[in-house]
Amino acid sequence: MAVIRDPVPAFEFFEPTSVEDAQVLLRRYGADAWVLAGGLDSLDWLKDRIKRPEALVDLGNIPGLKGIREWDGGLEIGAMTTLAELVRHPAVRDRYALLLEAAEATDSTQIRNQGTLGGNVSQDTRCWYYRAGWACYRAGGDMCHADTPEAINREHAILHADRCVAVNASDTAPALIALDARMVIRTAGGAERIVAAEEYFVGPGVDITRMTILEPGDVLMAIRLPATWGGARFYFEKVRDRQAGDFALASVASATVVGNAGIERMRIAVNGVAARPLRLHAVEMLVRGRPASESTAMAAANLAVDGAQPLKFNAYKVPLMRDLVKRAIRGSTAAAWSLLT
């Protein structure tokens, strides 16, 4: 929701060529600094004048942050790699098609050419009350404007809301959780910190002002995909209103290894339903050792939405999420309808 679009308030612009230099700048400007990757999420905030950083630190000229490399039987993807590069990469296509599908579901050619994987997983929530600058919990205020009797909250959370009902909108996030990706962070102090994708995202209970564990001054360096889930059976589906320009109302990503005795192991995550992408541990446990059948899928899907608390306009997300989980488990040719949307 636009307040004033043009021109953007002035800022200082830095193009460091090393992460060390970038972090010197981030330290110098502290809370007034902003990390710039592809800029798709960032520029929105600046144009709306809701966030007014004093200094932009562009990571675009740091060579080490770009590209996709073989790593310990898996892949290491630099945080500044664009979504388009992911979609094109042969090793991603051969072994981690789940991530390819998720990246491909991200809007359009232009957005995939410009947006980076690091930016995609670090993007802020799309809650329009928050993005329009309303003083909500997430913005340091004392209420949630999306959770009032009059609120328009069709896109908001059905699970794990805690004061704030915003959701995480990243398309690649659930795929990275399903692939058990590791996020390689360089902390403000210069130390390397590696966390599981699942732990990278935080809900309001942990910190209501942030979507990820990144602390000011931290830089996400790379995302590593372990060999464990390479070539598994994958399922990804994103349900949205329009093909381009719309975020997931709900999405699901799963990696499954099926043997003679049924499902040997599975990792499954959903997004668009809570403040962080959710790994469905209970579902993973339930399906182990069972056939990938309709009845397994049904039991698991009901478990997945257990405890859901819809708001006034988003009760549809409960059956939607249930169906997505079901399809991820038993597979679906029916999902071909999505090609028409």
């Binding site: 043009d6 002035a10 612009f13 193009e15 520029l43 144009k47 562009d58 050619t109 232009q110 381009a244």
Partner: protein, 162 residues
């Protein structure tokens, strides 16, 4: 404070002093006078500002001019040659792929980028790919037809040259 940038635009060396906050689309229009690239929404939703940067289709309202420093940019003005429209432009004219024309530069650039990547797209692929761009007038049917016609013309070009 401004800074100097140097880039190639439609094959020509260009430069300028820009404030870091200047969007690439505004630099192209206001400083270089290349007003063929349109500004619709300024937030990445309409596609009217689509151009090529180093061969990749981007929305130039979602980029700062300083981010294009050192890059090769192609705008709608770079597609036609003096006296002759580019086959994609020609096809938009032939098939009535435009009415008011506001969205047209963006659609032509997006169609051009699609046909470079995929010279023979199916209707489904055309529709999917061009979903990044919005048109308020045509209802899209003629735009899709224009892209199909352009694909045929470009194919004829290629075969007649080889």
């Amino acid at each position: 404070m401004t800074r100097a940038i140097a880039l190639t635009v439609n094959g020509e060396q260009c430069g300028g002093d820009v404030e870091p906050r200047t969007l690439l689309v505004h630099f192209l229009r206001d400083q270089l006078g290349l007003t063929g690239t349109h500004v619709g929404c300024v937030v990445g939703e309409c596609g009217a500002c689509s151009i090529l940067v180093d061969g990749a289709l981007v929305k130039s309202c979602l980029m700062l001019a300083v981010q294009a420093d050192g890059c090769a940019v192609t705008t709608i003005e770079g597609l036609s040659t003096p006296g002759a429209l580019h086959p994609v432009q020609e096809a938009f004219v032939n098939r009535f792929g435009l009415q008011c024309g506001f969205c047209t530069p963006g659609f032509v650039m997006a169609s051009h980028a699609l046909l470079m990547r995929n010279p023979n797209p199916t209707e489904e692929e055309i529709r999917r790919d061009l979903s990044s761009n919005l048109c308020m007038c045509t209802g899209y049917v003629q735009i899709v037809e224009a892209v199909k016609e352009a694909a045929v013309t470009l194919e004829q070009w290629r075969t007649s040259r080889t």
